[in-house]
Symmetry: C2
């Protein structure tokens, strides 16, 4: 377990991975009969009661310490949509369409105006996806949260035809990796970013919204065979790309193929972040990836604004890394 | 908006009610076609896709500042079950059976051992209900949480036959109110309790578990017609009992009919809490209520350990309160 800049800032991805491994130990030995094998862990799958062909997909997420920036700038209208879109993207990886969402808002001191502004952001993003805001919890917890602080998490439930859930085994060497552009940090890397950038000066850049990739993905699926997808969140390209790939392939990306947004350039410069830190802490400009046959790549890219071929799939052997980001083709 | 002891301790129930009213404004004008009218707001209902007779019920909850007591005493094995049981009880009010649960765990500093202990509590309570622990999120958020602090929230999704969802209109004057015993504060009132009681001395009492009422309710439903139910959480008997009752009735309870656990006696004494504060901040020994026809009350009580008739339903007119807790029959 190495300690890098992100760990020094207080977020230890290695500890996170260790916790996830411990959860698997905890749950070893029992699984509900209707719980389906997960595909990369972006969203859990549960057989739809009374229906052998469809499943519910569910995911819980937060927006990380982006909430601290929102609190400091008193900008409460953006994090709700960030959260909903994050959740939508997570279950989109298994091809699910949103049904309903519930929020959890915890505050140090409850200001109804502020809470309503945050929930409005959730509601409007839900509505855009024809997703019900079915419920939620607002908790006032002085002593845990400072007076102006809050945390925001949410859970989405969606629906998917089982035949439409991507199958790892379909991915083959030679397939193309298509990337969809990120608008900024989305909901990851804020603890490090807050150490490196002044919140007041960089507030707009730091609060740039986490987009939904729902429409772009659906448009691409009309013209291309999409074999695997990944939502580039905590862990960046290096950890998220492999989550939906089989063990016998690796993902090769070339970062010359997309434009890295200025906020990341500034973060890398100020933090003197090495290659691994950059691509494991931040999305570096790619918010969502799709694996498609090379023959479909041009059509896929044409179907969604800003989409680019950012790499390809190669055969992998032994202990080779499962994802690599190169400066350019070797 | 009066300020009482709980508000002075930092939790303003009036502000909470105001926030909920604001959320309704925010969501005014749009509702998903498959979102069903809610019954008291304990759990949202959403039509099961492709099934006209069943619905999904969902609820998100936290465990409040009970997490601060767990953190101070370094007792991480209880709050997970508290949370799951809280969620189970919430959707039980609409008669739903749990399908799956997802947790949100946010920490100041991620200790995999501690996180695994908390999640183990969730898992074991899920398993007891044959409920899948389908996913979750663990977030390390320094700056928002103190190093040893954490917050824990969760979302449950269950299934219910629409014909089994209780209908307010069935409740009539003369019906009996059956109460199920609470083990302690469950997950509400901790911010005030922490002001009044020393955490180290009263640790065991304060961490007493939030029970699931699932088995007790199912046992009672076999022998009695259950017309309405309420989970006695934040807001106590005074605010939760009316949530599933029609406007034309009121709930009358006599607190001589059940034993108030010693922890509440001590809280009332130390805080010099008036009647309204007691019954709006704490459950005062009743964790869950059921409205049954008077003719079924004896059978219902016999079916569940500790169950007692705690009151009855009367006709209500004009601006009369919707729930009253008397010392004894007037």
């Amino acid at each position: 377990m190495t300690r890098d800049s992100y760990a020094a800032a207080g977020v230890d991805i290695a500890a996170g991975n260790e916790a996830v491994a411990r959860y698997k130990d905890v749950m070893h030995g029992w699984r509900h009969a209707d719980q389906l094998e997960e595909i990369g862990g972006f969203g859990g799958l549960f057989r739809l009661p009374g229906d052998s062909e469809r499943a519910l997909a569910a995911s819980t997420d937060g927006v990380g310490t982006k909430v601290l920036i929102a609190a400091e700038l008193e900008r409460y209208d953006t994090v709700g949509a960030d959260l909903v879109n994050h959740c939508v993207n997570d279950i989109l990886v298994v091809n699910a369409t949103p049904l309903f969402f519930l929020d959890y808002l915890a505050v140090g001191k409850l200001e109804p105006d502020v809470a309503a502004e945050i929930v409005r952001g959730c509601f409007e993003a839900c509505r855009k996806h024809n997703c019900a805001l079915l419920g939620g919890e607002t908790a006032e917890m002085p002593g845990l949260y400072a007076e102006k602080h809050f945390d925001l998490a949410g859970t989405i439930v969606g629906l998917v035809d089982l035949q439409d859930v991507p199958k790892r085994e379909d991915v083959q060497p030679g397939d193309a990796i298509v990337g969809l552009p990120a608008r900024g940090l989305h909901t990851n890397g804020y603890t490090l970013a807050r150490k490196l950038l002044d919140t007041k000066t960089f507030g707009d850049l730091l609060l740039a919204g986490h987009p939904s990739y729902y429409d772009a993905v659906r448009a691409m699926q009309k013209v291309a065979r999409v074999k695997a997808m990944a939502h580039i969140t905590g862990g960046g390209l290096l950890e998220n790309l492999p989550r939906t790939l089989p063990d016998n392939v690796k993902a090769i990306c070339e970062h010359s193929r997309w434009e890295v947004p200025p906020v990341f350039v500034e973060l890398v410069r100020r933090g003197n972040l090495d290659h691994k830190e950059r691509y494991r802490t931040f999305n570096m400009g790619i918010g969502y990836t799709l694996v498609v046959p090379l023959a479909d790549a041009a059509k896929a890219v044409a179907a969604a604004p800003g989409a680019k071929v950012i790499g390809w799939i190669e055969a992998r052997s032994g202990d080779e890394p499962r994802a690599i980001v190169h400066p350019s083709r070797a």
